[in-house]
Amino acid sequence: MTPACREIRRNILEASNLSGHGHIPTSFSIVEMLCAVFDTMRHDPTNPEWAERDIFILSKGHAALGYYATLAQYGYLPVKELATFGAFESRLGCHADRLKVPGVEVSTGSLGHGIAVAVGMALAFKISNECRRVFTIVGDGESNEGTVWESVMVAVNLKLDNLTILFDANDSQTRSLQILNPGDRFRAFGCETIEVDGHDMEALMNALSVPGSGVKAVIAQTVKGHGCRTLSNNVFEWHRKSPKSDELPTLIKELEEA
């Protein structure tokens, strides 16, 4: 685990402890993906509205705490603001609001929406001949929603080679509707599909480094709660649970040892 990814996870744990909110395991599963996207795309934290920036959309919006911690890591937010997560007048709700948080392009939360908006943005850049890329992280549970697959079909049909879909295969739906063999599914839908270890930064960076010849799908095999075995061994218990102060040191210790 890179120092930055470890620091982001630590900030997630501490913010969740202080606020009493947060989906920690699902945030932990995408930390490397978030860092790889922010290390790849053109963006400027001092000018979040920069006209030539690439776009990132967190379609699985319930991982907002992981998103905020990453935005803080990359200079969009003060780290100390993470402690306000979910508070009444905070900018940082449990699902991100684009009108409140610098760097957030689309307000998400209801599953299956962000990827479709991403398709519209990618199309916009094609129409206006702008060389800008669009990245979106989609959850495997989210992919129970039909709109995910509607969006993939539309994007492939429009040949949006500036769109990269990062699929978080963290096995979140083993108890209900599991998306088995996601790589086969995205390939069948016509995506240029790459399957990687979603916690391997080098593999992710290689997968993201250049646009595809068509819609690119990066199937990232991940572990919910990656970095804290207490979380990864009990993902359903910890799905939306915040660590109490007497639980926090154990989780931090596990994280430091990971």
């Binding site: 684009r98 009108l99 392009e105 689309v106 307000s107 939360g109 209801s110 299956g112 929406h113 479709a116 908006v117 991403a118 398709v119 519209g120 943005m121 990618a122 199309l123 916009a124 850049f125 094609k126 129409i127 206006s128 039909g146 709109t147 509607e150 969006s151 079909m153 539309v154 049909n157 429009l158």
Partner: protein, 287 residues
């Protein structure tokens, strides 16, 4: 009205390179000349209405003025959450243009009928809701609102009314003010039946092309009268009733699916929204 929709958007496209039309596999041939002239500005994206609304939000976020178009219930009732979140909550503007109105597809049965969407969409913060009565009104409303950055709904019908008078978005037309105790308020294409029904009756007549924002000033003008709303959809009655302390009743739809076929005229007659049925309803309020 569909042809007018194409003519108006094509004309706008010649002046505004940010106009983009998204079709849900309806009006494909109608828009072919548009697509031939501007191949990157018209997309028949397929039968995936929820995604179409969200795609429009993405286009809007980058400065385009999208028009999304297909059959009414599929683009509105089916897509309420996309309209609510991806357009209204995110504050991305788009033009939602449906065809079919309430019963234009009468013969197709209740799956293709749609009468709740005006009432539903008017509840969404930031939403504009129009019900143009004919081609001219549609042209005026689109040109007025299409690029204002707000989500705007236009309900098209194949049975527009034949009356010709100038309209303005958000403004009602006082078609008859005779100082009567009863005021009939109506919206959209059914105005033709309402005018026939009210001929010779001592009533005031107010016509709305816009359900949201509702013209409160026009309503207030008739506050001291008994208001009868006549509409072949839900929406206007609810909008007018949002003004407190009015005496309002409605002659509209029954609380049941209109599970008959035939034509729009057959269904209107069955539920008392033909001229004779409306006439009887107005008479009952007068006496």
């Amino acid at each position: 009205m569909r042809k007018q929709f194409k003519d108006t958007t094509l004309d706008l496209a010649t002046q505004d390179e940010r106009v983009v039309v998204i079709l849900g596999d309806i009006s494909h041939f109608l828009f072919m000349p548009f697509q031939e002239k501007y191949p990157t500005r018209v997309y028949n994206m397929g039968i995936c209405e929820n995604a179409l609304i969200s795609v429009a939000a993405g286009l809007s976020s980058q400065g385009f003025h999208p028009f999304v178009h297909t059959i009414n219930p599929f683009l509105t009732e089916r897509c309420v959450e996309q309209i609510k979140l991806d357009l209204c909550y995110n504050q991305f503007g788009a033009n939602i243009v449906t065809t079919g109105a309430s019963f234009d597809y009468a013969w197709d049965g209740a799956t293709h009928h749609c009468y709740t969407e005006l009432a539903i969409l008017r509840l969404l913060p930031g939403m504009e809701v129009t019900q143009p009565g004919n081609r001219g009104e549609l042209d005026t409303l689109i040109r007025s609102q299409y690029n204002n950055g707000k989500p705007t709904y236009y309900r098209l019908s194949d049975h527009g009314h034949p009356l010709d008078f100038p309209i303005e978005f958000g403004k009602a037309n006082l078609l008859k003010d005779v100082g009567a105790d009863v005021t009939v308020m109506t919206a959209g294409p059914i105005l033709a039946n309402v005018v026939d029904a009210c001929e010779g009756l001592p009533v005031n007549l107010v016509y709305f092309n816009t359900i949201k924002p509702i013209d409160r000033e026009a309503i207030e003008r008739f506050r001291r009268t008994r208001i009868l709303v006549v509409q072949d959809a839900h929406g206007l009655h609810e909008a007018i009733s949002s003004v407190p302390d009015l005496s309002v009743s409605c002659h509209g739809l029954p609380d049941q699916f209109c599970a008959w076929y035939g034509t729009v005229h057959d269904i209107r007659k069955k539920i008392g929204l033909d001229p004779a049925g409306i006439h009887a309803a107005v008479l009952s309020r007068i006496s």
